[in-house]
């Protein structure tokens, strides 16, 4: 063991010459620590390991007994360690082996997709060197492997690598075969309602009906066959066919209606709220109204961009008066036509407009007016109908 390593020795000196010994050590500039008297004619101290030779020379013929006992420091620590060298070596080797084992790929798992695709992907990964026990440093890059997966297996729409320490999970998503869309299918356009054709805007297909021709529900409007006779080709007919359609609706309206008006009397009330806690309302000039309407306004405050957690709730109470109103026949008819028009437009599926309306019949019964109204609407009636055995002919 190298004696230049830091360490100290415990020295015990007994005898009359001890004073001479420490004086000489002091003269030789030997560093002394923890010098103390431990008994009659006995002192102990610590000196550096390297100063033992100076101590030996100083102690020569001084008439005192010097005994050394083991001290401490790096030197003695290493000496102790020497006996445990096998354990330390084993520990180091274990650490190295552990570190070394981290450099290998220990497991590979393919997830997602059908079993066939998974097996195919596993095979491809193996060909690229991705298998248990492979050194990670020698593996080809993820990008390359993923691109080769995409190239080799058509069914894969997405592949991703997920590393969990020394285990690799490859996630695979398979392409889903979409069902043929309705657009690709060969189809005719037929009338969804009975009406008179007003406008035809055809994108694809051969028109069968003409303008101002009356069509019944289910009749063929645009054929899905195009081309010269004998060389016909089936396509997906598309386009818009607008036709006038007719509706008859019944509307019932009461002659007397109840209306609510504001009288103009009002008062305010205030309350504070923070979170779920709310103070009772404080009313200002409170009045009692039989029917009233409440308008609530919540005010928040900002202080330098910071929202104050207290809100002020201002409630406005307004008096409401209930009154009966008798409608004239004209007003009733006007309202009835409006109500009926809404019903008709709802039936046209949002594409129609009302072009004509006429009241066919009116009847007053039990304070209610019953109206029968005729409407003419312009709406889109073309409906896609895929080829069936009947329509194909």
């Amino acid at each position: 063991m190298n004696r230049t390593l830091p360490g100290y020795v415990h020295v015990r000196v007994k005898g009359e010459g001890r004073q001479l010994l420490i004086a000489e050590l002091s003269l030789k500039k030997v560093e002394i620590r923890m010098l103390q008297e431990t008994g009659p004619e006995e002192i102990t101290f610590l000196i550096r390991l390297q100063a033992i030779s100076s101590l030996r020379r100083a102690a020569f013929k001084k008439g005192c007994a010097v005994s050394l006992s083991q001290g401490g420091g790096v030197y003695y620590y290493l000496l102790k360690m020497q006996s445990r060298i096998s354990i330390i070596l084993a520990l180091c080797i274990a650490c190295l082996m552990f570190y070394g084992s981290l450099q290998f790929l220990w497991g590979i798992n393919v997830e997602g997709g059908s079993p066939e695709v998974r097996t195919e992907a596993e095979e491809l990964l193996r060909l690229n060197g991705y298998q248990s026990g492979a050194l990670m440093r020698q593996l080809s890059s993820e990008k390359e492997v993923i691109s080769s997966l995409y190239q080799s297996i058509e069914q894969i729409s997405w592949a991703g690598f997920e590393w969990n320490g020394t285990r690799l999970t490859v996630h695979i998503r398979e392409k889903k075969e979409l069902p043929p869309t309705a657009k690709d299918e060969a189809a005719h356009l037929v009338a969804s309602k009975t009406g008179t054709v007003q406008r035809m805007l055809i994108d694809a297909g051969t028109p069968v009906k003409e303008r101002y021709q009356v069509v019944k529900k289910g009749e063929l409007l645009v054929s899905g066959f195009i081309g010269a006779e004998g060389k016909e080709k089936a396509i997906h007919a598309s386009g818009e066919v607008y036709a006038n359609t007719w509706y008859e609706t019944n509307v019932t309206i009461p002659v007397d209606t109840m209306i609510y008006t504001l009288t103009g009397k009002q008062y305010s009330s205030y309350a504070l709220q923070t979170g779920d806690v709310k103070t009772p309302d404080i009313h200002i000039n409170r009045a009692s109204f039989s029917i009233h309407q409440k308008d609530r306004v919540v005010k928040t405050f900002d202080v330098f961009g910071w929202k104050v957690p207290i809100e002020v709730i201002h409630t406005n109470h307004k008096e409401v008066k209930k009154a009966k109103k008798k409608l004239t026949m004209e007003q009733i008819k006007e309202a009835g036509i409006k109500i009926g028009a809404k019903q008709v437009l709802a039936q046209t599926g949002g594409t129609g407009t009302i072009t004509k309306e006429k009241i066919l019949h009116e009847q007053i019964e039990n304070g209610k007016v019953k109206l029968t109204i005729y409407y003419q609407a312009l709406e889109e009636i073309a409906e896609v109908k895929p080829f069936t055995e009947e329509t194909r002919e």
């Binding site: 004073q19 004086a23 002091s26 560093e31 620590r33 103390q36 008297e37």
Partner: protein, 95 residues
């Protein structure tokens, strides 16, 4: 001659006196701790009395349970109950 020159140098450069003259610097902290700088060697040690040689004479320390916790060729640290510190000057010393 040398002393005069050193005195003027010390006055000019405002250096501490213990650096210029070969005299010990003693720091006594409470009763427990004593530092002596610039000593010339340990002359005597017991747990009641310690003597050091210095440039101006002997430094005598008296107390109880005295212990030299560290001694280098420049500085000494004494622990224990220090009761008295005296300097016994050389005869030729001017002070």
């Amino acid at each position: 001659m040398k002393t005069k020159w050193m005195e003027s140098a010390q006055a000019l450069l405002r250096l501490p006196e213990d650096i210029i003259y070969d005299i010990p610097k003693i720091v006594w902290i409470g009763r427990q701790l004593l530092f002596i700088e610039n000593h010339k060697g340990l002359l005597f040690y017991s747990d009641r009395n310690i003597a050091f040689s210095s440039g101006c004479g002997k430094v005598l320390i008296a107390g109880q349970d005295l212990l030299i916790s560290a001694m280098t060729n420049e500085q000494v640290t004494v622990r224990g109950i220090v009761e008295d510190v005296r300097i016994e000057y050389h005869k030729e010393h001017p002070e």
